[in-house]
């Protein structure tokens, strides 16, 4: 891989969940997560609630400070080597809740123009640019520019949020469940917009979603997270075609089939995901894994390379390697 545009190095983030002294509880939201993003690629991130997807996103754009580990942009450590202000204009984020992410007292044109004016762009230039961007995301600036957030539908608001993210001409956009709250027909429109923008501007996306269909559609590579750790990461095609972690297999098997003749007959996993406050020892998935064996409950599985830029953290792969 060429120099990664953005990379995460052993990110760790724990949250306090109450209690003092020995009884202190800690949510291990993100534990030792590392990955790299090549320029122009889209990395899909999937996992169930509480797996650390959103915390990873927030660490990545520096909305949260990691307990340890670092984020690098084009090889430079953000903070010491690259000032935050410069970083922010390169890496932007779009959130799930389109309404909560817009200031209710700002018109849409002001919302899009606000960021650049803070960064020193003149008011008139920023407004002109905002008009172009609204137009680009499919909202007529004359009609929608003067409206407030509550006067738009969910799909329209999410378009404004995308326009706002684009106002800095960023290289990377982190999309945290950005289309999940939208109705299906509107979701398809916004996905099309995202794919068009990616092609036009050579954007790099981190696309976080719980919808495996959508992630497969838009992503070049996919990262599967489980209880704050990376279970598997690899090219979308090989990860969906030949998953190398039992959790990835289970997630894929849990997708509704869409074929009336091939309905799902058996649930791949029993029970709910465990609480990230007190994750299981060894491989965190071993309590729900049908194929757990000797080392799973005690040893943390290392990352096994199972294919071209395809890595899975599962002890079963060591067995496979020995057999081969």
């Amino acid at each position: 891989m060429s120099t990664p545009i953005l990379s995460a190095h052993s990110l760790v983030k724990h949250f306090n969940a109450g209690g003092f002294g020995a009884a202190r509880k800690v949510v291990r939201a993100v534990d030792d997560v590392s990955f790299e993003l090549a320029p122009g690629e889209t990395l899909g991130v999937v996992g169930e609630s509480g797996c650390g997807k959103s915390t990873t996103a927030r660490l990545l754009v520096q909305l949260l400070k990691p307990d340890s580990g670092s984020v690098r942009y084009e090889g430079k450590v953000v903070g010491p080597e690259l000032p935050l202000k410069a970083f922010r204009s390169k890496v932007q984020m779009v959130f799930q809740d389109s309404f909560a992410s817009l200031n209710p007292r700002m018109t849409m044109i002001d919302a899009v123009a606000f960021g650049p004016t803070v960064h020193g762009v003149s008011q008139s230039d920023a407004i002109r640019k905002a008009q172009d961007l609204l137009d680009r995301v499919g909202l007529d600036p004359a009609r929608f520019g003067g409206r407030y957030a509550h006067e738009l539908s969910g799909g329209q608001r999410q378009r404004v949020n995308i326009a706002r993210a684009l106002a800095f001409d960023p290289q990377v956009i982190v999309l945290d469940e950005a289309v999940s709250a939208l109705d299906k027909s509107v979701e398809a429109q916004v996905l099309n917009l995202l794919m068009d923008l990616r092609r036009e501007r050579g954007l790099t996306y981190v696309f976080i979603s719980h919808d495996l269909n959508v992630v497969r559609h838009i992503s070049d590579r996919v990262m599967v997270m489980y209880l704050g750790e990376v279970a598997e990461i690899g090219p979308a095609e090989s990860l969906y075609g030949a998953p190398c972690h039992p959790y990835t297999e289970a997630l894929l098997a849990a997708m509704p089939s869409l074929d009336p003749d091939q309905r799902t007959m058996e649930a791949p996993l029993a029970g709910d995901p465990p609480n990230p406050i007190d994750p299981p020892s060894g491989c965190r998935f071993h309590t729900r894994c049908a194929r757990a064996f000797g080392p799973c409950s005690t040893q943390i599985p290392p990352s096994y390379t199972v294919g071209r830029s395809h890595v899975a953290a599962c002890h079963l792969n060591s067995v496979k390697e020995h057999v081969a």
Partner: protein
Amino acid sequence: MTSGFSQSDMSLIRVRDLSVRFAGTPPVHAVNSVSFDLAPGEVLGILGESGSGKSVTLKTLLRLLPERKATITGTVEIDGQDVLSLTGRGLADHRGGIVSMIFQDPSLALDPVYTIGQQIAESVIRHEGASKQDAMARALEMLELVRIPSAKQRLENYPHEMSGGMRQRAMIALALACRPKLLLADEPTTALDATVQIQILLLLRELQQEMGMGVIFVTHDIGVAVEVSDRLAVMYAGSFVETGSVKDVIRDARHPYSKGLLAANLVGAVPGTRLDAVPGAPPPLNALPEGCAFAPRCAVAEDLCLVSPVPLWSDGENRWARCVHAKREAARKDRMGAGN
């Protein structure tokens, strides 16, 4: 299987020309002349986006809408009973006895200050006049039926002591405690994680077959609808626009909106390619256009589409679509079939 419109004495549900208006200026037309039948033991999936009237239709069957605000017209018969004329005790017997409902958010549907066991027992005592002891025994039986591990201890749990998937199971146990003939499910798996969602779907499917009850399953997720339904109805702007067996609707959708919905669910899409997205957004329900409500977003709309009523195409059995083009296309196919 019953047809969309055929008269059948066997129907569990018979809905004709059901319309629901909510007071306002102008009034909101939430449901517009919906008609359907449901056979005993049949599962109907209602598919639609937010604001399409799916939940309002369900709530009408249980008479859960606020009486002062909602004007309901048409007929609704469930198990031979005229639901719209029910009052007092009759209505109370209907709710939970004949028809039960499960919701998207079990933490709102369950009472936080009573244990799961108490809540299930209460419903059994009310509907079947059972003793407290018998009712508790039934509650335990129900928790075992929905496969809650260590059910005996769980009887004593309050809703907040359970995980999301477990609460959903408890709500299903509560809904089924009095062996209803009809279960209404309003997006019961939408808030759940993928691996838990499939567990609940399979559980519902199994219980439905075991108990032989009719189910109406409302969802916006085509995949979920396919997993549980025998028949599908696609809803748009308060109307049913297409119904048919799951296979027919998924493989050979006739209404342009159904087709758009399938494309948006990435059915058969090649990764990375642009999607065949339906433009625009649904019309506001207090200002529905004349004619077909989907016409303003439809790629093949024409002048004929702007005239009410929209013609109905039906294959004479249990498959129909309300669209000018569906009717024409079917006629063309018939001609071609005759030519061969």
